[in-house]
């Protein structure tokens, strides 16, 4: 075993590392050329077996670090809550107001799971997040994920205790959106992993500052979740179409908590996904 290892190391370090370089370069090129299904399998297995446990451990250390401060904060909160029990009616009114504020109402009629973001992709383009809720908590693939500000993305991989969330800025995520004022429907997608863009007919009259919501047509996201505002509108390649760049309501790099809507895809979409 040791001999074989030594042989491989010596082979790779020959000619000032050119053998190793060519080998790794070929592997990289093979990865570039592989079909997307193979790439997806590779990514899923590595993510679940190595990176998630490491990030989870680091996240736990981070939580431990702040436990003293949190304890102090909880003591204060406990004192405050004791006082508030004497004012139950005011508390109930405040709760109703807060519910409306964070859109926790039953507008969509689906249960909500609150989750903490415990990791994200290390690359320059933030496209994926890992949350600490999985199938054990009722989270499954293709469930919509949103925050207090608006739509965040959807669950692409759910394991027992964690799930991977594909963000709106991932070029692979495309969704049907509707402009709130004109009710025109278009497809939203990320062009480069940073900006969102959508094409709409010119006659619709979409303007800068207009608001986009989910249209409910894709079968995955329910209708009416806020997505973002139109930042710029420009002429598309076709005269009859306009391309708009959209600024999402939610800033993804500062996201700490998200809500997963326990909504399964509509049956026809589910059948297509299963196929």
């Amino acid at each position: 075993m040791l001999r074989a290892f030594r042989f491989v190391v010596e082979l790779f370090t020959q000619r000032h590392g050119i053998v190793a370089f060519v080998f790794f370069l070929l592997v990289g090129l093979l990865m570039r050329q592989a079909p997307n299904t193979v790439k997806q399998n590779v990514v899923s297995s590595i993510l679940g077996s190595i990176l998630y446990p490491a990030q989870m451990a680091m996240s736990s250390l981070d939580a431990y670090r702040s436990v003293v401060a949190e304890n102090e904060q909880l003591k204060q909160e406990n004192a405050r809550l004791r006082q508030e029990t004497y004012y139950a009616s005011e508390g109930l009114q405040e709760l109703t107001r807060l519910h409306a504020l964070v859109r926790f109402d039953d507008k969509w009629g689906f249960p909500i799971v609150t989750a903490r973001v415990v990791g994200h992709n290390p690359g320059r383009f933030l496209t994926t997040m890992v949350i600490n809720r999985g199938t054990h908590h009722g989270v499954h693939e293709n469930m919509p994920v949103f925050s207090m500000n608006g739509l965040v993305g959807k669950v692409t991989k759910a394991s027992y205790g964690y799930a991977r969330v594909q963000l709106l800025v991932d070029p692979n995520l495309k969704l049907s959106v509707m402009e709130r004022r004109t009710r025109v429907v278009g497809f939203l997608e990320s062009v480069d992993g940073l900006m969102l863009s959508a094409m709409v007919p010119t006659h619709a009259g979409v303007k800068v500052g207009d608001t986009l919501i989910t249209s409910g047509l894709g079968g995955i996201f329910p209708k009416g979740i806020p997505v973002g505002t139109v930042k710029t509108v420009r002429q598309a390649d076709l005269d009859v179409m306009r391309q708009m760049y959209v600024e999402p309501f939610q800033e993804f790099s500062t996201l700490e908590e998200v809500f997963v809507m326990e909504k399964e895809p509509d049956w026809i979409i589910q059948e297509m996904l299963d196929e």
Binding site: H16, A20, R32, K39, L47, L51, M58, P122, G123, T127
Partner: protein, 162 residues
Amino acid sequence: MNKMKWFKLFLLFILCFVLQTTVGDWLKIFDVGPDFVIIMIVAIAIKYGPATGCFWGFFAGFMQDIYAPVEWLGAHTIAMTVLGFVVGQLEERFLTLNLPAKTAVLAIGFFVCDMIYFLLTGLEKDVVTSLFFSKTVPECLYTVVVGAVVFHLSSGKMKRRV
């Protein structure tokens, strides 16, 4: 390189990645943060040469590709492998680099790595130009500053050993 060194490099590699995905966020200024992974690859390549440089470059790039959009799988891997191999040509065994030289190598390596990455992802020219000025340049400057501190600290440690 003995087994202990490999083990140490592996631990450094894991630590670097965990730092990048967690502590890296604390150091961000206006959404611009240092790239610990590139600093690590350049440091390893300079110290141990091209074979070790491209080996760790390959694995570091692959780990970054895991989280990138699936259709770009392999782009980071190739860019980092090239970075490790090219920087490894300046191995300390044959060439002594002072702190400004190492920092310059880090800066050039960062740009080259990004350019290869942009080339492989096939992004449009306008998008690449925009990303170059909004991401590559500020992140390169930040990484160079952090890298200079890391190189200075590591060289101080080496001198104490001598």
